[in-house]
């Protein structure tokens, strides 16, 4: 058995999302602010 603690959750999590919350994405390998994603994707049409 892994020697680790398992957090107990009371059902689905309520996610507090923020455009100002930078994170690292294991799929793209990039660490970005969500607000900067359209520019990084080179997708000017998503800009207002």
């Amino acid at each position: 058995m892994p020697d680790t603690t398992t957090p107990q959750t009371a059902g689905p999590l309520q996610l507090l999302e923020s455009e100002a919350a930078g994170y690292c994405d294991p799929v793209t390998g990039l660490c970005v602010l969500p607000a900067a994603l359209p520019e990084l994707r080179g997708d000017p049409e998503t800009k207002e």
Partner: protein, 221 residues
Amino acid sequence: METAAQAPTRLSIDVWSDIVCPFCYLGEHRLSQAIARSPHADRIDLSIHTFQLDPTLPASPIATLDHLSATHGVPAAQARAMESGLARQARSEGLAYEVDRPAANTLDMLRLVQLGNAHGVGWEVMRDLQAEVFSANPDAYAPATLARVAEKLGIPVEEIREVLDSDKYADAVRADHEQAVRLGARGVPFTVLGGRLGIPGAVEVGQFLAAIDQAWEQVDA
């Protein structure tokens, strides 16, 4: 004798991170500040969990910027600009952050964090190893560095050696990762408060503090 009814209310905060993750490094720092400012600080149980961002990273260190360009297709100038922005942000918050730093596979480091958890110092192992990486210690990933960091935190040398000489805790690293995905994490850092509130990413100190207050109201209800 203390009964369950008399036990003081406590709030669990669980954080998933990787060593090489800049926003984890920043987010943990901000969360620590938020906890320190919280009136509930002495009744918060903080736990670190591991999340290996890139298992394809080689065992031998390479330049982080080269890795971003070669593996993830980010033009060199853009990679440096992104990293420079992160460096400015980290330094403004009092953290050492070198753009030109080594990157390597973090599995051994994360297994050591798991060993740290078994000794109640997993958070400290994560933070101290991140400090080695983000200050650009060229030997940050060397077994001797890992052993030095862990030993300084009071982990017995023979247990450190046993972990570094084997794949012990690799299953715990995988289990942590799978649990984060099950909880809805699409990246790291990922923070769960009271088993109810999830925070993707490194939010500001004030947002962590507000989330602690919100979670506290729920556990104390």
